[in-house]
């Protein structure tokens, strides 16, 4: 199947950018789903060893993918520990 695609791509090189951008978009969507499944504190895959991950949140954990102006590790943690 890949061989057929390569042959057709050689005679229609205009398809290369298309593959690149559509493939990139698909890859980014899959990466987002994977991040949601693995990093979201609402998700628990192992109910025995990790029963309630939403109770393990720390005040300076960075939940967002990208920070512009903030360094979450430098946030003051001025609240009581339970």
């Amino acid at each position: 199947m890949l061989l057929t695609i390569r042959k057709q791509l050689k005679s229609h090189p205009a398809l290369i950018p298309l593959f690149f951008f559509i493939g990139g978009g698909a890859a980014m969507s899959l990466m987002y789903l994977a991040r949601l499944g693995l990093r979201n504190p609402d998700v628990s895959w192992d109910r025995k060893n990790n029963p309630e991950p939403w109770n393990k949140l720390s005040p300076n954990h960075q939940y967002k993918f990208f920070t512009v102006n903030m360094d979450y590790s430098k946030l003051k943690k001025d609240r009581p520990d339970f």
Partner: protein, 230 residues
């Protein structure tokens, strides 16, 4: 506040709104360029006497008109996402204010240190003083210290409302039973107007929001005065 027949945004009073303004300029310029190009092509196609019946395909131009729009979209998306994440950062607010929407007025609660709360009704048109703005002035303004990060928790007491101040770049829905958080910092002292932005009944257009940014000493004097009056 907005001026009659104003087309663009109001002047920015917070850094986030400045970013939004610049991003809008950048994107609008791209849009104008593309629209001008398309309009020119349309006019050229429609007014020519030449015909061409023999082009079947061309790989080169197809590559160009796939790559170029993709680049333009990336050029738009990257600043947009940066501002999106910037707007979500809450960096150590100095003050937390609760803005509660009611039918048909806002009430503000400053409960960090003392128990300060007051309602903010619109000034009816017949009670306006000369120089005041119709349908925008309120009897009590939400006074905040300038240059300090402020956190606003928005909620509602009855139906949906929305707390919006365009010159600060803020709009946050007030949902009954829910606390929505937004934060801002005013870069200059001044009075900033906004209006309720979610239909909430008969007087939805008559429950404005006025934010007044003053130096810290003035804010402290104001809050002591308000506490005495209460």
């Amino acid at each position: 506040m907005a001026h009659p027949s104003q087309l663009g945004f109001q002047d920015a009073a917070s850094p986030v709104m400045e970013e939004l303004l610049h991003f809008h300029d950048h994107t609008l310029m791209i849009v104008f360029l593309i629209s001008t190009l398309v309009l020119y092509i349309i006019v050229a196609m429609v007014t020519t006497k030449l015909t061409n019946k023999f082009i079947l395909d061309s790989q080169e131009i197809e590559i160009i008109w796939t790559l170029l729009p993709a680049m333009i979209l990336i050029l738009i998306a990257l600043p947009s996402l940066r501002i999106l994440y910037l707007m979500d950062e809450i960096n150590d607010p100095h003050l937390t204010i609760k803005a509660m929407g009611h039918q048909w007025y806002w009430s503000y609660e400053y409960t960090d240190y003392e128990d300060l709360g007051f309602d903010s009704y619109m000034v009816p048109t017949q009670d306006l003083n000369p120089g005041q703005f119709r349908l925008l002035e309120t009897d009590h303004r939400m006074v905040i210290p300038v240059d300090s990060p402020i956190r606003v928790l928005v909620s509602a007491d009855d139906v949906l409302h929305s707390w919006a101040v365009p010159s600060l770049g803020i709009k946050m829905d007030a949902v009954p039973g829910r606390l929505n958080q937004t934060a801002f910092i005013t870069s200059r002292p001044g009075v900033f107007y906004g209006q309720c932005s979610e239909i909430c009944g008969a007087n939805h257009s008559f429950m404005p929001i006025v934010v007044e940014a003053v130096p810290l000493e003035h804010f402290e004097n104001w809050s002591s005065l308000m506490l005495e009056d209460a």
